[in-house]
Subunit: 193 residues, 2 copies
Amino acid sequence: MTRKEQKEERRKAILMTALTLFVEKGYYDTRITDIAEAVPMSTGLMFHYFKSKEELLLEVVKMGAEGTKSLRKGITPDMMAQVQPDQYLVGFLRKMLSYAKDEPWVFHMFVLMGQARRTGMPEESRQVALSVDIVDDTAGLVAKGQKDGIFHGGDAKLMSRCFWASVQGIMEEMAMDKDMKAPNPEWIVGLLR
Amino acid sequence: MTRKEQKEERRKAILMTALTLFVEKGYYDTRITDIAEAVPMSTGLMFHYFKSKEELLLEVVKMGAEGTKSLRKGITPDMMAQVQPDQYLVGFLRKMLSYAKDEPWVFHMFVLMGQARRTGMPEESRQVALSVDIVDDTAGLVAKGQKDGIFHGGDAKLMSRCFWASVQGIMEEMAMDKDMKAPNPEWIVGLLR
DNA sequence: ATATACACTGAATACTAATTCAATGAAAAT
DNA sequence: ATTTTCATTGAATTAGTATTCAGTGTATAT
């Protein structure tokens, strides 16, 4: 393995550790030292990989933004046509919630991205998080569901926003308490029906 | 007005200002100086009223805990018997959401209490926030609704928890964006139906 | 009218955590 | 085999805020 590859690997390890801690303890309650210890690595070395705590957060958020964008590219228009909006959302949630246990990466990332959009976090990270707009995407899906008569009436954008805010709330609750059982995705989609 | 009363009033002003800023900018992003400036008063004087930032937060949370408890005492058993669980929750949400605009106090308090329960905040405040358990209360209501056939099946406690997590998520979203329209409470209760 | 208490100020200090840095050793390149 | 590069360390420094404090003036009590 070349040196560059090793460095890249180490970098990834830091990003992953930071993601976990940022979600589990919160950004401000996570000390650079905590991350270093968890990786593990010396505190000073952290700054060989990221120039600041703020930049580290930014990189985590950017990774999340990339992931979300490529996830979206994987969704083809005919997929959308074949599956009903409610079933699509149920499926999405089911997958996300199942990650919570075994492979918390995606789950944590979802939670962090939501937090970056909302709560007090450095401005630049918020901007990046806001640049992937899940709400507008889903608004179209909601409108389609309304036309098909499977969703109730109302401002589709607002409904989409509430739906995701709701999901965010539940995900954060789960992130706090590892023992919490996952809810049935159908319940959450019930917000739109 | 006696000196003691004046002091009490000033104290309340600080608590209210802190509540607003903690919710709007987040606890860690709110400097003691920000609060002092907003009250307004000198930075040093803040410590004449509260011995630390942490204690200030704790007092705000305690105030919220008191409020919640007395709110609960106002609910008589016959009230519960007369109104259906779904209608009770819709009414509660309607009131809460309407506060968001004119009288943000209650609204902010709700958001802060939820954050104190979950996100990284000093341990003592979290304990106090956790001491008012809205989830267990509502679980009973959910169970009753299930018996009456107006709510779907499932673990009542988990459903209650998801309901409130959902509300929390939506409230936080609204706290972030003042221009966001309030959702229809019926949508949120749809999570249980 | 005088004395006392205390609300009040803002500059000085203390503290905590991020960040830097000089030194070290091991791997890669020559 | 030697040189060069660079990952690595942890103690020292810096930076940003919370917190303290020595005074000051004004409202209340006597």
